[in-house]
Subunit: 229 residues, 2 copies
């Protein structure tokens, strides 16, 4: 029965890694939709979100089944509860990819972002890719030594988000209010996406170490991350 | 032992209601800070957030204790897991109040919002108040018949959020890009705050009915809510 329980936990972990990969693919495609005003890519992200939502339900169902089979305590209980929370974050990451894709669709056939912000959003997309890949690895391997990498990607994302404000508020911004708002909201979606990846990594660390989640830090020393805007 | 377990669950429920009231008080004070450029109110919201975070940790600790004592299954397990998720949403609602307060602080002594948006933000603040009060009641009473009220408040919040875009993008908008971005982000904080209240009510309904969370709707019939921007 204990072996069956651990098999269930492994299957849940596999589903979570699948969700991370799906959320990463969605954000990647959403970035392409944004950079290339690609309506097909945008529609694909929007329609694929159901799959991530189904995986969320599947994880939830399996967590309850696993808990009912084993009535876990201590670490096993932390794994079950942690899996539920990680699936919530991954579902939300998928939603944020949909928000980016909907923005690309809304402005189609025009681009959603002016040329001078293309490089920033391309970099945010690359960071989203990188942070998702690391997050999937952390979920699969429970290797919490990857935490600082995730934290660094998140810090760069925060930096790009703040930098974007400077661009849209500069006197040389010539694209008006709507483009500034579009860019700000889009940037915030990427920034929140990275925050969820950090939260997942902290959650895995909490499961592994048993420290209270609130006290779990990916990087013990170092400058404080900038507050979210 | 079972009586002790149910006592623990009641205590957790009381803590969640306390969190809801604290988050509501924070958002109320943040709205005052915003409408009146009140720095003292803003600072108070920001410094009070630690208390909500502490309550989150306390709920988490007690949920694990309760689970370890009773090894709950079925409804009891849903209550423990649901409580953890509700505490996450409430913590996030507190964070959103802090975001509003920080915006008021950032622009102090100037107002963060122009006069023509005061009525909208006053209404969003009132809706946040109302939805939080209902949410606290749902948490305490498990009275899921309040779901449709919560859904209606959320729909009005979504409507105000969309309407605000029309204002800041109108040709008569005379306050420039920065004020438009401020207003958009602030409006989004209120809109997300209400989304979390909806999510809490759905979670309580899921606990009470046992339906899968993904299928739980506060209003079975009616127009589809607008997508978040």
């Amino acid at each position: 029965m204990r072996a069956a329980f651990h098999e269930q936990l492994d299957e849940i972990s596999d589903l979570l890694a699948e969700m991370a990969i799906a959320a990463g693919a969605a954000m990647n495609q959403a970035t392409q939709a944004l950079l290339n005003a690609d309506l097909t890519a945008a529609e694909s992200v929007i329609s694929s979100d159901d799959h991530i939502d189904e995986l969320t339900s599947e994880v939830e169902r399996r967590c309850y089944d696993a808990a009912a089979l084993q009535q876990p305590v201590a670490t096993d209980l932390r794994i079950v509860v942690g899996s539920l929370r990680i699936s919530s974050s991954l579902e939300r990451m998928g939603d944020l990819a949909v928000h980016v894709a909907k923005q690309a669709r809304l402005r189609y056939p025009n681009p959603s972002i002016p040329n001078e912000l293309r490089a920033s959003f391309a970099r945010m997309g690359a960071l989203a890719d990188a942070i998702t890949a690391k997050t999937a690895t952390v979920i699969t391997t429970k290797d919490v030594s990857l935490g600082p990498d995730i934290e660094r990607y998140d810090q760069e994302m925060d930096y790009l988000h703040r930098e974007l404000f400077a661009v849209v508020l500069s006197p040389t911004w010539s694209h008006g209010v709507e483009a500034a708002i579009d860019a700000t909201l889009l940037s915030r979606y990427y920034e929140r996406y990275a925050d969820h990846a950090v939260s997942i990594a902290r959650r895995v660390m909490h499961v592994v170490t048993g420290e209270p989640y609130a006290d779990t830090q990916l990087v013990v020393e170092g400058p404080e991350a900038a507050p979210a805007t």
